[in-house]
């Protein structure tokens, strides 16, 4: 092997300039790539699709924990809905698997009632099993999402609760 060739091999990861020179070049490559990808996508197994969906959910939950969103959406319920619908064709099957009534599950999903601690514990154990092949899923994730949401709700709704609560709070030691 020549010295020059060896240097090139040692340096393979210095970087890549992968920018397209023209739109025509980009379009041409896109068409060929899409054709090959569609074929590959058609051959994905149900198991591979499920793993991708669960990985997507895991990454979204991690992203929410990293950068909390202060809005009026119920993220815990949304994540829960995605989790169940990725794995089960009927939500009642999930309810059966974690031994809760379909009515209770429906109320939690639709934010009509708070999940009990036991519900989150069951969800934690269920997720440990479901995410086994997907990658490390911290067993605290559902808890963290749930409480993160509580914090975000409390902070973003200060105008609603503060005036009433503030009346009952004083700090008599300071002027």
């Amino acid at each position: 092997m020549t010295k020059k060739k060896k240097i090139i091999i040692d340096n393979l990861e210095y970087g890549v300039d992968s920018r397209y020179a023209t739109a025509k070049e980009k379009d041409h490559d896109s068409i060929a790539l899409m054709k090959a990808r569609l074929e590959k996508m058609n051959n994905l197994s149900a198991e591979q699709i499920l793993q991708a969906k669960l990985m997507q959910l895991k990454l979204k939950m991690e992203s929410y924990l990293k950068e909390p969103v202060y809005d009026n959406q119920n993220h815990f319920a949304e994540f829960l809905k995605t989790y169940i619908d990725s794995i089960y064709s009927k939500r009642s099957e999930f309810a059966k698997d974690i031994n809760v009534t379909p009515v209770f599950l429906s109320k939690v999903i639709n934010s009509h009632r708070e999940p009990k601690e036991e519900f989150i514990l069951k969800l934690m154990i269920h997720s440990e099993k479901a995410f086994k092949k997907v990658g490390k899923f911290h067993n605290t994730t559902w808890y963290q999402v749930y409480y993160q949401e509580k914090i975000c709700d409390t902070i973003s709704n200060q105008s609603k609760w503060r005036p009433k609560i503030e009346k009952h709070v004083k700090l008599s030691h300071f002027k």
Partner: protein
């Protein structure tokens, strides 16, 4: 996510962050191989050791939602981290994994990351990252894209 100090084998936690305008002042072509100022309008990420500011690697991407794909435009490691005497290992792997995570987060089972193929690097990326080649494009899809994330994402 972590990188490895080659000499000591020490595992060091890193973070990948969006490049800020001020960062361009410290990104020279002599240390980062390309003129990164040309990427100012693009989505560019930097790899740094947790709590530090020195940039060890850079990646610029283009999101193509109509194709459920993120194309890697430009990718580099800092000069002292390339070649035989490199200080840290796995910078490129982590940058590619970051983009893979963005793609899966957005497109799930349809996710894809791509690179324009060049004969010099082709075999290396196929072997090391399990990429496929279609015409002039190297790409990574499900299930290989999930394996890359599992391999590099230790968070």
């Amino acid at each position: 996510m972590t990188i490895v100090e080659v000499q000591s084998g020490k595992v060091i936690p890193i973070e990948i962050l969006l490049l800020e305008n001020d960062d361009y002042k410290s990104i020279s072509e002599s240390r980062y191989y390309f003129d990164w100022k040309k990427e100012k309008k693009q989505e560019v990420y930097k790899l740094v050791i947790n709590g530090q500011t020195d940039i060890l690697g850079l990646i610029s991407i283009e999101r193509i939602p109509s194709e459920w794909r993120i194309h890697i435009r430009l990718l580099t490691v800092s000069k002292e981290n390339s070649g035989k005497g490199k200080i840290f290992e796995n910078i490129v792997g982590n940058l590619m994994t970051h983009v893979a995570k963005l793609a899966v987060m957005e497109f799930a089972e349809m996710a894809c990351i791509s690179l324009k193929s060049k004969s010099a690097i082709e075999q290396h990326y196929i072997k090391k990252y399990n990429m496929s080649i279609t015409g002039m494009t190297l790409s990574l899809e499900v299930p290989e894209i999930l394996n890359l994330i599992k391999q590099y994402d230790h968070d």
